[in-house]
């Protein structure tokens, strides 16, 4: 006789109530971040300078807007997955843990959203030239 409920048996996820989704998402975003971060760093380093006009001209390129938006979205997701594991490991009680995880989520959506908005604003040519 099994003590597990029929629903628990079907879901097959045990007491963690979660499958391998987190682990997989962490790996898939890690693989995506290898080319994205290297492209970002190398394209900044190979600019003739980091003054406003040079950087703004680079930021206005179509590929810059596209790839930087992807980079920030994937980076924020990967970083959220990682920092939420740190919270889960070091915040022992359930209440503060949930509050911390929610705060993290809000912080990532807020900063990532602001960053992508700024990238697109430059890409579409709004603001000071």
């Amino acid at each position: 006789m099994s003590l597990r409920s029929p629903l628990g048996k079907v879901l097959g996820m045990g007491s963690a109530k979660d499958g391998t989704g987190h682990w997989w998402a962490q790996r898939v975003t890690a693989v995506a971040l290898v080319p994205l971060t290297l492209w970002f760093v190398l394209s900044l380093l190979t600019l003739p300078g980091l003054d406003y006009d040079t950087v703004r001209a680079w930021a206005s390129l179509t590929r810059t807007g596209f790839l930087c938006s992807l980079l920030v979205a994937v980076l924020a997701y990967h970083s959220y997955l990682g920092t939420s594991v740190i919270v889960e490991d070091y915040v022992p009680s359930a209440g503060p843990k949930i509050i911390w995880l929610l705060l993290l989520r809000f912080a990532y959506v807020l900063s990532g959203g602001a960053c992508i908005f700024a990238i697109l604003r430059v890409a579409f040519g709004y603001g000071a030239a």
């Binding site: 406003y52 740190i86 900063s111 990532g112 700024a118």
Partner: protein, 129 residues
Amino acid sequence: MPARARPTSPHLEIYRWQIGNSLSILHRITGALLALGLIALCYWWVALAGGPDSYATAGAVFGNPLGLLVLIGWTFAFLFHLLNGVRHLFWDAGRGFERGQRHASGWAAVIGAAVLTLGAWLWIWRHLS
């Protein structure tokens, strides 16, 4: 009733400190630092989108000695997390588990990150400052 000496599981302090656990801890620390770096990246993009004045302010925030020191730290954190992350992906694929391989790839990640950090900042100093 007097407390009886129960058998306890071996804890952190009985293990010898070695490259494997050191780099595991360093991977988490650099990941947490890079999460803060993501906020800085978002600030830099918002400043760029805001125009020449806010970009100049960001330049002053990052361009002073303390700001540069933090940027150099983030460069090492990024490069180590990248190289050690690739190491993790090889392990996920079931490769590189032999003792010699683990040690060699660990040292390669930490020394490689240090050398590349030095190279990147020499490049910035020569070409971008």
